[in-house]
C-alpha cells in the first residue's frame, strides 16, 4: 500500500466541544494503516496536552491519558507550537509527558512531544500529503 504523510491538525481545546476527542479517535484508527503520521497542536489545540486534567466534576470522560498510549501505535511525532503555548501563558512544563520507545535505537525511551516554532510548524504543514483538520 502507498505510504502517505498524514498530518492531523488540532486547533481546539478539549471538552468544550467533541473535536479533540474525535480527532484522537481518527489518529488511533489511522495508525493501523501504517502511514507516516504526524499530529500538530497549535492555537487552542495546545490545551489538549496539558497535565492534571480531571473531568470528574463535569461528567465527561478524561481522554488525556490516551495521548500517552500513542507511542504504542507508532504515532511518535506530536508537534506543539511554541508561540501558541506562550500566547496562552503555558510552557512545556505544563504539558504531560508523552514518550515512545525507539525501535531503531535499542528501544530507548524518547519524548514524542516536540516543541517547535511557528515557522517550523509551517514547514511541517507544507511537507504533508494529507492534512486533516479538527
Amino acid at each position: 500500500m502507498t505510504t502517505k504523510k498524514f498530518l492531523y491538525v488540532n486547533r481546539k481545546a478539549p471538552y468544550g466541544t467533541i473535536y479533540a476527542l474525535e480527532s484522537l479517535e481518527v489518529v488511533l484508527i489511522g495508525a493501523a494503516f501504517e502511514q507516516d503520521v504526524s499530529v500538530a497542536f497549535l492555537d487552542d489545540g495546545v490545551f489538549q496536552l496539558t497535565k492534571g486534567q480531571d473531568t470528574g466534576g463535569i461528567g465527561v470522560k478524561n481522554f488525556s491519558p490516551t495521548f500517552r498510549a500513542l507511542g504504542d501505535y507508532d504515532v511518535t511525532k506530536l508537534y506543539v507550537e511554541r508561540e501558541s503555548l506562550e500566547e496562552r501563558g503555558l510552557t512545556e512544563a505544563d504539558l504531560q509527558e508523552v514518550t515512545y520507545e525507539d525501535e531503531d535505537d535499542d528501544w530507548a525511551e524518547k519524548p514524542s512531544i516536540r516543541i517547535i516554532s511557528r515557522a517550523e510548524m509551517a514547514d511541517v504543514m507544507a511537507d504533508q500529503d494529507v492534512v486533516l483538520s479538527f
Binding site: 473535536y19 481518527v26 484508527i29
Partner: protein
C-alpha cells in the same frame, strides 16, 4: 483527479453540508472523480431521513441522496460518531436493540478506516466543517 471530501458539521445549523454539496457538484461537473464523501462529527446528522424542513427550504439530505444516485457516490457515515448521535441503519438498530433506524438512501454506515483509506486513495482531501 480524485477528490475526497469530509463533512464534519451538521445540517441547517452550519453551512458546511451545503458548501460541501456545491463543491462536490462543481468537482463532478469539471470532470473530477469524487470516490467518497465521509461524514464525521455532527456531519453524520446529514444522513437522517427523518428531517422535514419547510417546503420552501432546500432538503439537505435529499440533495445528497439524489447526487449520490446520479453519480454513484459513496456517502459514508462514521459509525462511532453516528452511534453517539443516534444515527442507525437497519442492521445497527437491530444489533443495538433499538426500535428504529434513520439512515437515508444513498448513505452507508462504516468505520473511521474509510476516512483514512479515502486520504490514501484520493489526490486531494477537502474538509467542510466548523
Amino acid at each position: 483527479m480524485k477528490f475526497g471530501v469530509v463533512v464534519s458539521e451538521g445540517p441547517y445549523t452550519h453551512q458546511a453540508a451545503d458548501s460541501a454539496y456545491l463543491f462536490v457538484k462543481a468537482a463532478l461537473e469539471a470532470g473530477h472523480e469524487v470516490p467518497r464523501v465521509f461524514f464525521y462529527h455532527d456531519g453524520v446528522n446529514v444522513a437522517t431521513r427523518l428531517s422535514v424542513p419547510p417546503q420552501d427550504e432546500r432538503n439537505i439530505q435529499e440533495n445528497w441522496t439524489a447526487l449520490a444516485k446520479e453519480h454513484e457516490l459513496d456517502l459514508v457515515v462514521c459509525i462511532a460518531a453516528a452511534q453517539r448521535r443516534g444515527m442507525l441503519d437497519e442492521n445497527e438498530a437491530k444489533r443495538q436493540g433499538k426500535d428504529a433506524d434513520n439512515i437515508a438512501d444513498g448513505f452507508r454506515i462504516s468505520g473511521l478506516g474509510q476516512l483514512i483509506e479515502m486520504g490514501i486513495q484520493t489526490d486531494r482531501l477537502v474538509t467542510f466543517g466548523d
